[in-house]
Symmetry: C2
Subunit: 451 residues, 2 copies
């Protein structure tokens, strides 16, 4: 029998990250302040180590992965590329379906790929503590894991409502030595203010970011780490696409279409950027970001300058956005509820290099359950978006009677999201359809740069 799982030796863990910046269709739009002036990279060193700040704007195409980072990645990488033969059979499709499975990391998603790099660079810069925020808990877990591997203390501000609803993600962070603080907290100015206004404040990702950044900015020994959106995070994730290319060679296959779930863009960038050179060389390859139709940043947002956070504290980035005060509904793919998108993904989407589709929540869970019952693995709700996209492509291939090769990233498992499946089975989940007016309202509040 030929193998359904394409495995690589550890020597095939990439030695370099691929930096897409020199290959963008145009110059990278700088981060700017409210005055419209570019924010100098040095301004970021209050919360990021020099190496990360450098990577954020580097024009080097290949950046060497430090050996201690590769050593940490070896704990779970290379991740497998798997042919989903049972899913193919269940769909009766002539298409071949491959998925790259990132749920093999100890934290259960692709997020640790960047977390270990960020922990390493901070340790090298003499930093001993990191702060971050987490909603659903994927990123917080990943940074706690990375902290345990590199000997850094990690404090995670966890949105209070998640802290209470997802105690198991919290326990996971604590098992890796992470300190988990429900946000808003009395530990920061921002938190104290929020609690004074409302002692029962359930918290939000925006608030938690502000608390983590405030603490990092105010302490010499402490930096901040972010799990998506920024250029260096997407850079670190390109190990995914590089490994996949090697694995496809072994399988003797090449995709017609690649799909990845899209929230801040780290999974899309990590998988797809290494394939851009092939596309530029003339390969007929579609690259499709799959987003929730309840937070349709690429498919219904605007390409404009906007804040990265809801409070308007971050630099202003040119990106696809629904407006920084857009409040997406409480869908169960918490990792895809960001109002904006990575500047890199946005620019490539605007240039027509990347495509996007938006899918409704119920259809994503339906696809996730089909996947679990055929391939065994229960996907995270975020990953269910890519599964849905792949299933739709496979059904289209069946309709058209065409052999096609479909590749998607299964960004993580759903072991900590079973309550969402529960609600799906109980018929308690629903789709959200956004009236155009609601989106327009949020877009009215884009910052007036230099105004």
């Amino acid at each position: 029998m030929s193998d359904t799982k394409i495995l690589l030796p550890e020597s095939d863990i990439p030695t370099h990250w691929y930096n897409v910046i020199p290959d963008l269709p145009g110059p990278l739009a700088p981060y700017v302040g409210p005055d419209g002036q570019p924010v100098p990279p040095e301004a970021m060193t209050a919360i990021f180590p020099p190496a990360i700040v450098e990577q954020e704007v580097s024009t080097e195409r290949w950046i060497a992965i430090p050996e201690p980072v590769r050593e940490a990645l070896r704990l779970w990488r290379p991740s497998p590329l798997i042919r989903a033969t049972r899913l193919e059979e269940a769909l009766g499709t002539p298409a071949k379906i491959f998925f790259k499975y990132e749920g093999v990391s100890p934290a259960g998603s692709h997020k640790p790929n960047s977390a270990v790099a960020q922990a390493y660079y901070n340790r090298e810069a003499g930093i001993t503590r990191l702060t971050t925020e987490t909603g659903a808990g994927q990123w917080g877990s990943s940074l706690a894991l990375a902290g345990s591997l590199f000997g850094l203390d990690v404090r995670v501000y966890m949105v209070r409502v998640s802290y209470e609803q997802k105690p198991h993600r919290r326990s996971m962070m604590q098992t890796w030595g992470g300190e988990v603080i429900p946000s808003p907290s009395p530990l920061t100015e921002t938190g104290r203010k929020a609690l004074a206004d409302d002692p029962d404040n359930p918290g939000s990702l925006g608030l938690a970011i502000s608390e983590a950044v405030e603490e990092a900015a105010g302490r010499e020994d402490t930096n901040y780490a972010l799990g998506s959106v920024l250029n260096h995070v997407l850079l670190h994730q390109t190990v995914i696409g590089q490994e996949t290319k090697r694995q496809l060679e072994i399988a003797g296959a090449y995709p017609d279409v690649i799909l990845a779930p899209c929230g801040g863009g780290s999974n899309v960038g990590g998988m797809m950027f290494p394939f851009l050179a092939d596309k530029a060389a003339g390969r007929d390859l579609r690259l499709v970001a799959v987003e929730p139709d309840s937070c349709p940043t690429l498919t219904r947002g605007h390409y404009a300058y906007d804040y990265g956070d809801s409070a308007g504290l971050t630099p202003i980035m040119k990106m696809y956005t629904l407006g920084h005060d857009f409040m997406p509904p409480g869908i169960h793919a918490g990792g895809l509820r960001y109002h904006g998108d990575s500047a890199l993904v946005s620019q490539l989407y605007d240039a027509g290099v990347l495509e996007a589709v938006a899918v409704p929540q119920l259809a994503t869970f339906e696809a996730g359950v089909l996947f679990a019952r055929t391939q065994g693995i229960i996907p995270a709700p975020e990953s269910c978006h890519a599964v849905r996209g792949a299933v739709d492509e496979a059904l289209r291939a069946k309709e058209e009677g065409r052999e096609r090769t479909i590749l998607f990233t299964l960004s993580g498992h759903g072991h900590f999201d079973m309550a969402s499946y529960d609600r799906y089975f109980a018929g308690e989940l629903e789709n959200y359809e956004y009236p155009e007016a609601a989106i327009h309202r949020a877009l009215d509040n884009l910052p007036q740069i230099g105004g």
Copy 2:
């Protein structure tokens, strides 16, 4: 860098199971009835398919694994053998530590290895439904997964208190299409009786077994499946040890000692039986079952004829036992709370081929946390027992300044056991020390065979 993860291609999934029965130090003691007469294998066909009944008493050394079972195993097998270099460094030991990681299965433990085989043989026998019981949920999940892969309906009687405390394991089973019934239930005679006595009955594994067996015995289309203890279950698990032997060859290593967590014995048998031939040929190899000191079946029990269940409904087996009405405390390694042990493991332990150690609960969690913080993976509480055993061996090697090779099975991950870690961190867990008298009391109630 040399690989820390020894991976095998799918063609190295064993083609045969290894049956230890012909290699036992003496004849296999038959299962008997209260009259002391052997139970004929045919008596088991009311609840098991013929192929399984045959395997239970087969004297063939090698039994071919049907191709559809190998096809199902391919979803996650071969599982990796991993060198725990970071744990070695943290301990400062001269020992090499390897672990076979069975948490890569979709259900998160080694249990699906037997579940897919049992589902297959039942389907071949024209059975369309399976019943089983589950406490912590590992086995119920595994059978639900196997049912989804082979198109069988699966009903799991889940101990009511677990049903309420572990909703995520329940959701997992439902995602694979399994039906989960809190036990005691109004669906069976046994359940109705228990509920009549006490409508708030929290349930027990013994009760759940009785409900599952009662239903299977009463329906033509339905059989029962068990996740440990019986000979055929240990047989199916020998893929673990066979793969490990091949992986050790590749690593150029051979263990001085192998450790596995021991509850019913499926992990011990699965890993260790394939190594018995080496030991018989003169290899200096220690095989150590690690059990909780709060349920010290091998280390403090008696080798005697006893019932497999607390109600005394099953055949009587010769095994190490604490007495079938021994009630172990509510420790967090639910899979290790069985009063007895597999007849095969018991016989080999009695003959001095296998050793056993008992470890206290707090020490197992301490080892599990150390493992998580060095190797990333968070072990299941059951698996923490083997980790503890391996750590103790490594520390002994350090004390003695001896190079040694230690191998253990990491039988599963702890993603569904984070509440137990939580309680450990909160200082709410304790050790249990059994007064000799308590054990003697339970042993007084062994069945009087033929009496």
